[in-house]
């Protein structure tokens, strides 16, 4: 394996569609819940421990070779918002396209055939990491980081937030990201014995309701 493959996969410029999504930040900004770097940090921390932890565990479980269809169903059950399920599948499909070019392999081709309209993005992320020879913790790091980097980038565009402040938020959250990764990987490792119920199921009610609210707007900057 090459650890540097993780940098390729985690790069914000990796062409997998993430730039068009705010991770719920656009709805939170419009609702007046994010208006400063401090609010952004609070938002990111909440997302990290709910959607981020779930995504990290799903990605780590996929690296371990657990059945993608089961993981995808577990992701569905943990994503009550149909807008967020559609977003996760769209991003999964875009990521799979990029991953198949970067790390071509039979497993990714099979996933594309099984999910022509896309599997949940964290499941694809895990399989992409697996194809790149990475470890469960690498995939979890990538998923968990994306859960906070997306909103931070979007907040810079939405609020004209100082980009140094926004990046500072991510840097301050880094130790907490590591701890969430540890929990995610531990949960993923217990799936073979305990089934997918062992995966975390944290939810952010405002992320879910906000996603449906956002999806109903006629005019918006971000796709989600």
């Amino acid at each position: 394996m090459t650890r540097a493959a993780l940098l390729v996969l985690a790069d914000g410029r990796f062409p997998a569609g993430g730039h068009a999504h705010s991770g719920g930040a656009e709805a939170a900004v419009k609702a007046g819940r994010i208006s400063s770097a401090a609010d952004l940090e609070d938002f990111c921390r909440g997302r990290l421990h709910t959607a981020g932890l779930v995504a990290g565990a799903l990605a780590a479980a996929a690296v371990l070779g657990l059945e993608p269809r089961e993981l995808d169903a577990a992701a569905d059950a943990r994503t009550p918002s149909p807008a967020l399920r559609a977003t996760a599948r769209r991003l999964g499909r875009q990521l799979l396209r990029a991953a198949r070019t970067c790390w071509p392999c039979e497993e990714l081709d099979l996933l594309a055939r099984e999910f022509p309209k896309g599997a949940h993005q964290p499941v694809v992320l895990g399989l992409a990491a697996r194809a790149a020879g990475l470890e469960p913790a690498d995939a979890a790091h990538c998923a968990v980081y994306e859960s906070v980097s997306g909103p931070a980038t979007a907040a810079v565009r939405l609020l004209s937030l100082d980009p140094f402040d926004a990046t500072g938020v991510l840097a301050r959250l880094a130790p907490e990201l590591d701890r969430v990764v540890d929990r995610a990987v531990a949960a993923a490792r217990s799936v073979p014995d305990d089934g997918v119920d062992a995966l975390p199921a944290g939810s952010g009610p405002l992320l879910e309701a906000g996603a449906e609210w956002h999806a109903a707007w006629p005019v918006r900057l971000f796709a989600s």
Partner: protein, 225 residues
Amino acid sequence: MHLDHTHHGPAAVSADAHRPDGARRALRIGLGGPVGSGKTATVAALCRALREELSLAVVTNDIYTREDAEFLLREAVLPPERITAVETGACPHTAIRDDISANLEAVEDLEDAVGPLDLILVESGGDNLTATFSRGLVDAQIFVIDVAGGDDIPRKGGPGVTTADLLVVNKTDLAPYVGSDLAGMAADAKAQRAELPVILQSLRGDSGVSDVAAWVRGRLAAWTA
């Protein structure tokens, strides 16, 4: 134009000229250019000019969600199932150049849903003079500027003006009112673009979009040859 086929496997590859079933995919033409230069109006006029003879569809890339798609739907230039909007997260140039994945899904979904298609027009959200389409997304690109945006734009150049397969100088009917020098613009464009074609058009004039439509027909003939 034919692109290299150096990849294997189905649909993973953006620029491949064939669909997973081996059939030739639609020709994809991108339309870019600054805000308000008349991209959407040109797309609408092309649809009206070509829809009887070709099977075509449109993908829009808006800065704000779906505005351009809504315009095309209101104008009823094509049935609604042939118009798709891609959301760009406030960065339309990223969606057509740096990360084309959402646009590739959109063109493929259109071919799946309403295909076979001869032509897909991919319209960029209004952006600056540096925004160009990735060759992984489109086979040819049209850059649309207008006389009211300043007659020094061709002289200033930039990747759109200098490298687009076709440069359209739009709204020539406005030149007398905004004091733009059409002959000068044509000469500057020629100097920037060497052999690449330039079309001066007014969608309000008698010939309308016919020169651009003729250019599109020529590209399509080369594509299907």
